[in-house]
Amino acid sequence: MEEKIILVVEDEEPLINAIKAKLELSGFKVVSARSVAQAFGYLNDLRKVDLVWLDHYLLGKENGLDFVAKVKQDGAKFKEIPIFVVSNTASPDKVKTYLHLGVEKYYTKADYRLDDIIKDINNVLK
């Protein structure tokens, strides 16, 4: 079976490392980006990303919402890639906007174990 590639978009280094470590232990190939531009760079270069792990606050001016809006816009190449938003910003309008734009899942970082999230990823990518 071909290795699945997960793009982790997260600004905090310690968290990237933890996520990366855990995902790799779970058998995924991981690339990580800290800004929207960087993330699009990976998407375009790799041509094949199976899932995006996305935080809300990112480096640079653009945030997770801007990223999702671009990915999910009509006719975009990466529209079908499932997106898991894992963030600590729990304002309901933001959650609503994300879900409305078509992200797969929304997690509050502090409330979920990595194990739980990865279990869901496996289910989605099965």
Binding site: L15, A18, P92, D115
Partner: protein, 790 residues
């Protein structure tokens, strides 16, 4: 004029005398009319007698003249030849002689059947039938017939006798004389006038005139309406015209002619013409009244006599009355007025303070008694005056003391008033100085007071708004800045419900200035009740523009802080998770134990941060309630599942009692989870190991009732009241369970209160606690907000 006793007595006497004279005078007038009436009667009766006497005398005279004539056979023979002319020529000299001698005016020869053969006094009239009563009387008695009767031309006294030849009645002879003859006799004797009135219908004017002329008599036809005056003794008829007209009106004539008893002149009519009249009727042979013979009596001499008598009488009475009055006054003066004057003079002296005099009147009557009593009184007054003097001196002293006291009181009151004035100024200064806008109105919402802050805020001056309606001055807008109608404004509600009404920051109300600039406010409107009556309301408000800004900053800060706090917590959590999972290599048992402690503490930290966030959102009123149809038992089960590790650790026995067919209701799932999570975890947490927990969900009236019952530590009774306070933890569990924030029940209660539900509990120390939650069957109330609770 002074009405002294003397004057009063004089007036009284004068009035009494006048009254006396008046009464006597009236009596005199009354007696006069009586006397005159009697006098009249007497007069008339006298006339009546004279009349009757004259009548009798003349009847005798006529009768004897007739007797003489009847014995003369010469005339008888001529009569028997029925040669009228010869009889007339033979009789005429005799008639003239009789007329001359006796005043005989009528001389008839009648045939035995009553047909008139010859009127010597009127030779051209004959052959008529005689029906007069005198004739009928003679015919029937075959002797004398007498009558005072009306003929065709005259009213006359008639005597008829049969004309007898050879013992056979061959005819009748009648002598008569005009009534004037004896009417004049009566007048001469009594000075009363007499006359004869005949009803018009029994006379012919023409016949009368002609026959009077033939007889060489005066035409004495005098018209009085229905009656004709045919004979009278009146020389000066004008004098009696009025009296006659009065007596012979229909009414009065009938009265004087009425025949109740048949006395002559029975009925007398007095009148105001200085004369009286009486009458008796004259009949024809059919007994019909054809007229009357009347008497007129002149009363003027009697009247003038009585007027003289009256004046004399009046003068005598007056003189006697004056004399009586004078005598009476003299007696009064000596026996009453004089002693009273004496007592009065002494009283005058006493009034000047001279008590030494005495009246000393020794008469044995009321005056004497009065004098004695008066002297006694003077003595008593003298004594009491002395005692009064002493009393007055004492009282004057007392009054002076009281006056001083009152002056002091007045001073005190003035001081109080000054204090009150000062207090009032202070109150006004306080009101004006209050840091919030204050507007007070009367019951009709018209502004009566506005403080400086309010004036600054709404940009209206007190001068402009006093007396205006607060609704006009102060428009109110909702959070969407839409104008709120008068009936829904806090001020209107407060006045209508007579209770305080508050507007909180989260209500999002705005006021607007005079220029239309809107600003957010908090408001409290308090009805003002005075003497149990609503008299107005006070509107206190604050511009919360700044608070709103701070609130926004705070919300942003909280949001940021939550992000910032949660990120390191996430890192700790995830790394610990990986270490425990052996992702970084195998770990020892002790390492595992420590790492688990780290993980647990981290989890608590996350929970605490979440709770603090929730509380801040509740406090700011920014959390939303989004009701959706949900199955409460499913939510409860999922929470129980989450709590399984804890339940297993404590070996707690959970019993579930869900009512069958429990309806799904509209609830906010997240909030409902928070409710179950807190109540169930508390129950587990605060019950010793192997405890029992009963969770029941049932329908109860219009609510869903959730019951969480444990047999745990319970809540001390003295802390029941505080159990829902923020950060409060009961004494008995603080040492047993360190793992608690004191925020859970606060959050649950806030959620239920804002969503239309209810929470309450029963608890006994060391016996256990039961929490009851009620959610209305129609679901939670929707609430818009910017934040979720987590």
């Amino acid at each position: 004029m002074k009405f002294s006793l003397k004057n009063k007595i004089i007036v009284l006497l004068f009035v009494t005398t006048l009254l006396f004279v008046f009464v006597i005078y009236i009596a005199a007038i009354y007696s006069k009319s009586n006397i005159i009436e009697i006098e009249e009667n007497r007069n008339l009766i006298r006339s009546e007698k004279a009349f009757l006497n004259a009548n009798t005398d003349d009847v005798k005279m006529l009768s004897s003249a007739l007797d003489v004539f009847l014995q003369n056979n010469e005339f008888k023979k001529i009569f028997l030849t029925k040669d009228r002319e010869t009889l007339y020529q033979a009789s005429l000299p005799l008639f003239k002689e009789l007329k001359e001698k006796y005043g005989i005016t009528h001389f008839y020869y009648h045939l035995p059947n009553g047909t008139n053969f010859l009127r010597v006094h009127d030779k051209l009239t004959f052959k008529d039938t005689i029906t007069r009563s005198s004739f009928i009387e003679a015919e029937q008695s075959k002797d004398i017939g007498v009558g005072l009767e009306l003929g065709k031309t005259a009213f006359a006294l008639r005597v008829v006798k049969p004309y007898i030849y050879n013992g056979e009645i061959v005819g009748y002879v009648e002598f008569g004389e005009e009534i004037n003859h004896f009417l004049n006799i009566v007048k001469n004797q009594t000075e009363n006038e007499m006359g004869i009135m005949i009803k018009k219908q029994y006379l012919s004017r023409n016949d009368w005139k002609i026959s009077r002329e033939k007889s060489g008599l005066k035409d004495n036809w005098d018209d009085f309406g229905e009656y004709i005056l045919v004979n009278s003794t009146l020389n000066d008829q004008n004098k009696y015209n009025q009296a006659l007209k009065y007596c012979f009106t229909d009414k009065n004539a009938n009265e004087i002619l009425s025949l109740k008893d048949k006395k002559y002149f029975n009925n007398i009519l007095s009148n105001n013409f200085n004369s009286a009249c009486g009458a008796f009727p004259v009949y024809d042979n059919e007994n019909k009244i054809v007229g009357s013979i009347f008497i007129l009596s002149d009363l003027s001499s009697i009247n003038s006599f009585y007027n003289r008598v009256r004046i004399i009488l009046f003068v005598i009475i007056f003189v006697f009355a004056i004399l009586g009055m004078a005598t009476y006054y003299f007696i009064m003066s000596v026996f009453i007025i004089k002693p009273i004057t004496k007592i009065r003079n002494i009283a005058l002296e006493i009034s000047k303070g001279n008590f030494s005099q005495k009246s000393n009147i020794k008469t044995k009557d009321e005056i004497g008694d009065l004098s004695k009593s008066f002297d006694n009184m003077v003595k008593a007054v003298k004594d009491s005056q002395e005692s009064i003097k002493t009393q007055v001196e004492n009282q004057t002293k007392e009054i002076k003391e009281k006056q001083i006291f009152l002056e002091e009181q007045q001073k005190a009151v003035l001081n109080i008033l000054e204090d009150v004035e000062e207090e009032k100024s202070k109150t006004e200064a306080l009101l004006a100085g209050i840091g919030e806008g204050v507007i007070a109105t009367d019951i009709n919402a018209n502004i009566i007071f506005i403080n400086n802050v309010a004036q600054d805020l709404i940009k209206w001056s007190a001068k402009e708004v006093i007396g205006m309606s607060i609704y006009q001055v102060l428009p109110v807008y909702d959070e969407k800045e839409k104008l709120i109608i008068e009936e829904n404004r806090p001020f209107h509600l407060a006045l209508e419900l007579n209770q305080k009404v508050f507007v909180y920051p989260q209500d999002g109300y705005y006021y607007s200035t005079k220029n239309g600039k809107k600003f957010p406010v908090t408001v409290s409107v308090t009805p003002v009740v005075f003497d149990n009556k609503l008299i107005g309301a006070i509107n206190v408000f604050r511009d919360i523009t700044r608070e709103k800004q701070i609130d926004k900053a705070k919300t942003e800060f909280v949001s940021l802080a939550s992000h910032q706090l949660r990120t390191p917590l996430s890192a700790i959590g995830w790394y610990t998770e990986m270490l425990l999972a052996g992702d970084a290599g195998k770990i020892t048992k002790a390492q595992k134990q420590y790492l688990e402690e780290v993980y647990k503490s981290n989890k608590r930290m996350v929970d605490l941060v979440n709770s603090l966030l929730n509380v801040s959102r509740i406090d700011l009123g920014t959390f939303a309630i989004v009701p959706e149809i949900a199955d409460l038992t499913e939510i409860a089960d999922s929470i129980l599942l989450e709590l399984t590790p804890m339940i297993k650790t404590k070996k707690t026995k959970i019993e579930k009692k869900y009512e069958k067919d429990l309806p799904k209701i509209k609830v906010d799932q997240k909030l409902t989870r928070i409710i179950f999570q807190n109540l169930l975890s508390n129950a587990v947490k605060y019950t010793p190991e192997k405890g029992n927990i009963l969770l029941s969900i049932e329908k109860n009236n219009e609510n869903v009732l959730i019951k969480v019952q444990d047999d745990g530590y319970g809540i001390p009774e003295n802390e029941h009241q505080r159990i829902f306070e923020k950060l409060f933890r009961a004494d008995n569990i603080r040492e047993k369970e360190t793992d608690g924030t004191g925020l859970g029940l606060y959050i649950v209660k806030a959620i239920l209160e804002q969503s239309g539900g209810k929470i309450y509990f029963e608890s006994k120390l060391d016996k256990g606690t039961t929490f009851f939650v009620e959610i209305p069957l129609f679901g939670m109330k929707k609430k818009d907000g910017t934040k979720d609770l987590s």
